[in-house]
Subunit: 230 residues, 2 copies
Amino acid sequence: MKNCNTPCNLQKCFMCRLALNEWKPAIDSHRKNFLAKKGELILKEGDPVTGIYFVYNGNVKVHKKWGDKELIVRFANEGKIIGHRGLSTKSSVYPVSATALEPTSLCFIDIDFFLSTLKVNHDLAFNLMMFYADELQESEKKMRNLALMSVKSRLAVALFHLKDLFGTDDEDCINVELSRQDLAAFAGATYETVFRMMNDLVQENLIALTGKKIRITDEEKLRDLTIEAQ
Amino acid sequence: MKNCNTPCNLQKCFMCRLALNEWKPAIDSHRKNFLAKKGELILKEGDPVTGIYFVYNGNVKVHKKWGDKELIVRFANEGKIIGHRGLSTKSSVYPVSATALEPTSLCFIDIDFFLSTLKVNHDLAFNLMMFYADELQESEKKMRNLALMSVKSRLAVALFHLKDLFGTDDEDCINVELSRQDLAAFAGATYETVFRMMNDLVQENLIALTGKKIRITDEEKLRDLTIEAQ
DNA sequence: CGAATCGTTGATGAGCTTCAAAACTCGTGG
DNA sequence: CCACGAGTTTTGAAGCTCATCAACGATTCG
């Protein structure tokens, strides 16, 4: 990753927005800014935890692997945190990898400084706690989905999720450039299966494809797939 | 659930151990103690959040459902917290159910009081944050397992997990009374499949059954199942 | 002693993965 | 500018894992 001097946008960065005034100079001196190219690995599962990253802009996939397969746990775009999964009482290695899907600019804070900030900045700690709580709920919902729902339903959930996260462009298409490979890894299924299910959804007029972009055409019926029967 | 007067064991309860001295009387007056019978529902997915529970002793399953299927997300025994998943910036209903697997005694604290305690007791907030961080790691590991591992491997993971959580008795058997139904829901598979896989593991001399109790006989080979190939 | 729940087993096939191969895209360098 | 190769998309076929259904024995419990 290349160093750069992008200043942090105080409005969007979790850390800077909640920073105590007296700590701001210290934060500025500890912060390192990076640019990650498309496809570049930002942090790697199993590596020792060095710090925490805030995404300034761009889009990052957070993923775990097992053998030669991978699962995308979530995406991190503008304003999101990555590397916070390294915080733990038990382990000191990152439990996930993070890879840039677009050119991405990041702000890095080393873990010791971040922890000491947390200890004195109670508002930041409280907000981070609530952030974790939200992530835990999301994670357990996805856990249930993977265990109990069909691939088609999981795909529908994934599409709504992507729409929420990235919004839509002026043609109402989900505003993200995502390979089918990654979509499959996010839905927790194989490439080919996801491809076939996408075809099904197009056949049933629930979604439409313009180029690689996806548009949800029948929100209600697509939503039905994500709702438990009975 | 029945009211009771079990005093809180300060050593084991997350809240009481970290309580500020000046808040202890307030906590005592806010705490309600309950006894839950075997099979009794403690809190229900979708119900409005009223507070948070600390398990004094016994064993509780935390589960989510979809249609007529269910997945056990985790177990909570002595000293663990349930209902903390209700904390969220977005929603105010419990995202999971909790059911007693044995006669269980609990301590209940209403959510408003708990939140105001959190705001002033920074040590408690910090510890809760780290607790969430650990749970998130666990949750995402399980997510990956459900997406990428075979039922047999997930069963192996589940058995190790149960051994860690409940320990072993004097015959080296995993010290928990768990129906195959619940074991299946924990491993994320059907009753029958889990039954067959258990048989396989017995055939291969990786585990042994004495009555309903399970003993891991070949830890190394069982561990192999849980490790990614290559 | 029913009644209900749980354990056990076999048969069947849906759902999904895997493999294989052709068609298409796209950047790269000659 | 085109040829090349690497990656991605598309499609078909084969088969494996696992869920589902069904039926019966065992155990628990009011």
